[in-house]
């Protein structure tokens, strides 16, 4: 009897809810994702390699990863500036701008896509003055880059904001009392303690940009080898019924996403050991 009761828990429903959770998870997430990986197994390593190294695929991956990296860098810098302004200063409309940061999260990507295109098109509000300066944004890689900056900004802001808010004011006072000027305090004391959060925000923004589809394709121009992102190439291959090609690109992108998840997890673990939870 005693062994039979050993596993009981105080609250009811564990077996039932866990069973339903695993079933639902398998049906919606695990089986479909497993299908994706199984599909690539139908390809020989040679074929797989050939697809990935074809000029168009390679360029699409280069464009996606390269521009995402650049956009995440901009987000890192601008995100830090925005967080600093929102957390440390008071100015009219601060709360409104704080809320505005979430718009790229909340706005459906297709809406963001058409809006950014309209804004930066040759006759658009911002496109026209830029065209005067000889800068063409819409339907060029610059457009892709700007769309990625748009969707990435909340990641850095929302990751760093709580950490900056919780930063113990005493460390700044300690630095000042030890004779550090403001410049030293900010760059040697405050920013270093934000590093895990900054890197996490950077990684999240980067991952989102790599996978982004809706907000990018309208402004991208979608010229093969020039302004064609990897997710779009997947869609094109699918519409051509070249499932294998689509799958191969998808697997590479998925693996990249897993690497980023892993990196973010490590970053957060690192942050936890660095700054003990109070």
């Amino acid at each position: 009897m005693s062994t039979a009761v050993a596993r009981r828990t105080s609250l009811p429903g564990f077996g039932l809810t866990m069973g339903l959770t695993l079933t639902w998870l398998s049906v919606i997430i695990l089986i479909p994702l497993a299908g994706l990986f199984l599909k690539t197994l139908e390809l020989s390593p040679g074929q797989f390699w050939e697809i990935l190294t074809s000029r168009r695929t390679l360029n699409a991956l280069k464009i996606s990863f390269g521009l995402s990296f650049a956009a995440a860098c901009v987000n890192l810098v601008m995100g830090t500036i925005i967080v600093w302004a929102l957390v440390r200063y008071r100015f009219p409309g601060r709360r409104l701008f704080d809320a505005i940061v979430d718009i790229p999260f909340a706005l459906p990507t297709a809406v963001a896509g058409v809006a950014l295109t309209q804004l930066f098109a040759q006759k658009g509000w911002l496109g026209a003055p830029l065209a005067e300066l000889g800068i063409k944004v819409a339907f060029t890689p610059i457009g892709i880059f700007l769309a990625m900056v748009f969707i990435g900004i909340p990641f850095v802001v929302r990751t760093v904001q709580p950490v900056l808010i919780d930063l113990d004011p005493e460390i700044e006072e300690a630095a000042a009392s030890l004779g550090a000027n403001r410049w030293h305090t900010v760059f040697r004391v405050i920013l270093p303690s934000l590093i895990p959060a900054l890197l996490t925000g950077f990684a999240l923004a980067f991952a989102r940009a790599v996978g982004e589809y809706g907000s990018v394709i309208f402004i991208a121009g979608n010229l093969p080898n020039v302004s064609e992102i990897a997710p779009l190439l997947i869609v094109i291959r699918l519409s051509e019924f070249r499932y294998a090609d689509a799958t191969a690109i998808a697997v590479v992108m998925l693996l990249a996403a897993f690497v980023i998840i892993f990196a973010v997890n490590r970053l957060q673990r690192w942050a936890q050991t660095r700054i003990p939870a109070h």
């Binding site: 009897m1 005693s2 062994t3 009761v5 050993a6 596993r7 009981r8 828990t9 105080s10 009811p12």
Partner: protein
């Protein structure tokens, strides 16, 4: 109602939270489970309540096997350490909860439920708080509401987990007396868990001292204080002076100094001598087993507490003794000490 616990074993990984625990609780008792944190007392309480399950053993409530039933079927009143009041319900609804969730067939009608809740709130003297929410109550009030809620289901037994742990010292004292008088009024078999020896000795009529998942001693408060069964109990309950001594053939030595006390059947070898602070007889130098220089004296109330550096023995040993005020001690004075009452236990490590 009686409670019987037999050979309970509970492991968390490799750590044995309960190591073969046996316990019988008689009808109408108010029993304290006393021990340091990690001694297994809360785990034992939760197992009796049906909130945890043992890896082996038996729990019988009123002779009936309890492990076959979940907490909801055991009719056990449980008062949680942090009260676990339902924060979205008023005090009234909190107390009424147990009556409202009864199966339709046995559920009382609304008027009966209201009357019963009113009665319980009167019992804990908080009827004027019926429409407040838990967040609007003080700690002591929450504690009493939690108790009223547990009593609402007319529990066969009442279990309280560190009932005064989260309260400040003054409220704690008041509630102790209140709990004791409440118990003598309703007389339901009760167990409470505490790490505070004073609390256990003052409130309970039976005390179970636990350490490292084992029961060290079961007895009345007087018993466990005056006749500690083990070195742990002696050290844990009341303040003791502990001296490392050597027992050889019925005589006791501290270092090279023979002590003029009987070994009381203690086995030969390295041992520990336990003496209560107030059980040291003070005399002029040269009249007792131990001798030392008074280093520091503080007086408060009826006693004076002196720090005495013992001479003889290895290294410097400093002990604290309590002496009555009728013999004034002076710093620097050399005095002799003779244990009046003492216990000798084999040194364990």
């Amino acid at each position: 109602m009686t409670i019987e616990v037999k050979n309970i074993v509970k492991k968390f990984g490799a750590f044995a939270a309960l190591d073969n625990v046996d316990l019988k609780v008689g009808k109408g008792e108010l029993l304290a489970l006393l021990g340091p944190s990690g001694s297994g007392k809360t785990t034992l309480l939760r197992i009796i309540a049906g909130l945890d399950w043992p890896d082996a053993g038996e729990v019988r409530i009123d002779g009936e096997d309890a492990l076959g039933h979940g907490a909801s079927e055991r009719h056990v009143g449980f008062v949680f350490q942090h009260y676990a009041l339902f924060r979205h319900m008023t005090v009234f609804e909190n107390v009424a909860f147990g009556l409202r969730v009864q199966p339709r067939a046995v559920r009382k009608d609304e008027a009966t439920i209201r009357a019963r809740v009113k009665e319980l709130l009167d019992l804990v003297q908080l009827d004027w708080l019926a429409n407040r929410y838990p967040s609007q109550l003080s700690g002591g009030q929450r504690q009493r509401i939690a108790l009223a809620r547990a009593l609402a289901i007319e529990p066969r037994i009442l279990l309280l987990d560190e009932p005064f742990g989260a309260l400040d010292a003054k409220v704690r004292k008041e509630l102790r007396q209140w709990l004791r008088s409440l118990h003598s009024e309703i007389h339901v078999t009760s167990i409470f868990v505490t790490h505070d020896q004073e609390e256990a000795l003052e409130v309970a009529n039976q005390v179970v001292v636990m350490d490292k998942g084992r029961i060290e001693q079961i007895g009345t408060p007087g018993d466990v204080y005056d006749n500690p069964a083990t070195a742990f109990v002696h050290g844990f309950i009341g303040e003791s002076i502990v001296l490392p001594v050597e027992v050889a053939g019925g005589s006791v030595r501290l270092g090279d100094r023979p002590l003029n006390i009987a070994a009381d059947g203690a086995a030969s070898g390295a041992s520990k001598l336990f003496v209560r602070r107030h059980d040291m007889q003070i005399g002029p130098a040269g009249t007792g087993s131990l001798e030392g220089a008074v280093r520091h004296v503080r007086s408060f109330g009826p006693i004076q507490r002196a720090e005495v550096a013992l001479s003889g023995g290895e290294g410097k040993m400093v002990i604290e003794i309590d002496a009555p005020r009728d013999r004034e001690l002076q710093a620097g004075e050399i005095i002799s000490l003779q244990p009046r009452r003492y216990r000798i236990f084999a040194a364990q490590d």
